[in-house]
């Protein structure tokens, strides 16, 4: 029984950063903005959060700084894609490249330093339930409030939303910033809870997996949790099998999360019903308001 509890807790810890990153991206994409820079925002959150916690000694302050760093990166993306209508795919890639480069530079002196861990209460990590509260809040706002209706309207038909007098660009700015803050939190979770240390490129593709999760969840908040737990389970499985030494080379087990991501994308994308019905119609489309 204890074993089962331990495994469940490890899966939860592996899944939580994916939930944070994915839920933020759900909001951004529901408003019609495809931000492929999740990996870059996440890694910046990880390094800035780690640094802040190291200098102040407060892991909570570290998490706040991580959130701010993610949002700051998202702001760069928003200025380019929303105000200067640059290509969203290319700008997202740029954000990831910039984030990986900058974080390596910022974190140079952090390598090998013992990190500050967010305290847990009797082995219980307060951020795990917070992830669920966040999903609930996002689901509530998106589908039960007027604000959510406006966000989805902007994402599904920006010209109509504009004609109704909503400020498309402002709504999108807020959604992208929220996505960035969540990705920053996900990064902070990695460097302050999951493995309290800084290693270059420590996000190891989790930002991209979170992006795949959004597609996998077909833009539904609660399904991102299901997907994230599935992925958490698989990465823990890989880790467990590795320690059992079954003679499978460790590299093949490390490939597993990435291969599973591909399989998941194929299965979901093959189902036209699911993807067609939920993909925001204006996803990735530039919008220039006429005056």
């Amino acid at each position: 029984m204890d074993m089962l509890l331990a495994v469940t807790l490890t899966i939860m810890t592996a899944a939580t950063p994916l939930i944070f990153a994915a839920i933020g991206e759900v909001v951004a994409e529901r408003s019609g903005v495809l931000n492929l820079g999740v990996e870059g925002m996440m890694v910046m959150g990880a390094v800035c959060g780690f640094g802040a916690a190291l200098f102040t000694g407060s892991p909570w302050l570290g998490l706040l700084v991580a959130i701010a760093a993610g949002a700051a990166m998202a702001l760069l993306f928003a200025i380019l894609t929303l105000s200067l209508v640059s290509n969203q795919v290319a700008t997202g890639l740029a954000l990831t490249l910039l984030g990986l480069g900058l974080s390596g530079q910022i974190g140079e002196s952090f390598v090998g330093q013992p990190g500050v861990k967010v305290p847990n209460y009797n082995g219980f990590d307060p951020l795990i339930p917070f992830a669920f509260i966040l999903i609930w809040a996002v689901a509530y706002v998106l589908f039960r409030t007027k604000a959510g209706l406006v966000i989805r309207a902007v994402g599904n038909s920006h010209t109509s939303a504009h004609a109704l007098g909503y400020n498309v660009i402002a709504v999108r700015y807020l959604c992208v910033l929220f996505g960035g803050a969540c990705a920053g939190l996900a990064g902070g979770y990695l460097s302050l809870v999951y493995t309290p240390q800084w290693v270059e490129n420590m996000t190891a593709g989790r930002g991209w997996i979170a992006l795949a999760l959004v597609v996998f969840a077909s833009w539904w908040p609660w399904r991102t949790a299901a997907g994230a737990y599935l992925f958490g389970a698989i990465s823990i499985l890989a880790f467990t099998v590795q320690t059992l030494a079954l003679g499978i080379p460790s590299q093949f087990l490390s490939m597993l999360p990435y291969l599973v991501t591909i399989v998941a994308l194929v299965v979901i994308s093959g189902n036209r019903m699911l993807t067609r019905a939920n993909t925001p119609d204006c996803l990735g489309q530039p919008f220039v308001p006429d005056r």
Binding site: L84, S86, A94, A212, V215, Q251, Y258, T261, R272
Partner: protein
Amino acid sequence: MQLVLEKRGEQSVRMAILSPLIAIALTVIVGGIIFALRGLNPFEALYVYFIEPLTQDWARQQLMVKATPLILIGAGLAVCYTANVWNIGAEGQFILGALFAGLIPVYFPGWQTPEVMIAMVVLGIAAGMAWGAIPAFLRVRFSANEILTSLMLVYVAQYLFDYLVRGPWRDPKGFNFPKTVNFDGWQVLPKWGDVHLGALFAVIAAALLAVMMWRMLKGFELRVLGSAPRAGRFAGFSSERAVMFCFLLSGGLAGLAGACDVMGVSGQLQTPYSPNYGFVAIIVAFLGRLNPLGAIIAGLLLALSFIGGESAQVTLGISDKIAKVFQGILLFFILGCDTLILYRVRLLAGRPSQFQSAG
């Protein structure tokens, strides 16, 4: 004050040429600020980073060596992105090319005729194409997003490389270092100084792609599908075939780049192997205005960012990681400045200005 974009009637040719130059200038300015913040004399640091490498012969040769894979991959990606096909897994295709070129020296170290060089290069190209064909197939058959699948395959390729070079392919006489046997004789590309035959391949490939894009039906087809997919479909162009074509082309070129890199530079496979060329080539494609010939100039410029980083590490004592920062900032500015091609940017006063007096 308010920033307003006005759509131009047509693309501004002047801005198309000017915008990458503005982007480079802005990057250099930001670079100077970063150096100044780190307590260095910005002018001296910028000189060390961007100019000094060009004054030394060995550095000029290294520039061409580093530019070779960037041009090969960047020219292929330029074609992809023009057709609105998003291959961002070139790094994985590059690694597979390097890996499969190395297969021959590992299993047939004694094969020492001129044919072995051709066999290795061809195998590298084929491996890159095969790795690129996976996301293309998944996109065409299952409409799985090629951005995500091609990127996931980069990680898979890295682990596959690591497994083979640490495991079955390790040099038995290599004192347990994670590397393969040294390539020998005909298994190595001919060199002039440090510059190897791959540099010639890069220029030829870029030129051929430019001819294809601007003088052949295939290029027209890809450009139409990229800018007006609906019109392309009415013209009978198949977007599925374009996706497959772009991935095979850019994957093959990335594979060729990988093969040339191990056959011309390291002469063996060793792990960790993450030159990052596949990702930096994305910047090359954009800086080169998605034009294969532009990729030559852009490739040289980004190669300079690598060499400059090394030079800054030696002379200024700062980490060569600064190179990645410059590369990221550069791409940001390129994308931002590209707005100027399609739009006029106006600053408007926030309030109606009818009360302004003449004096």
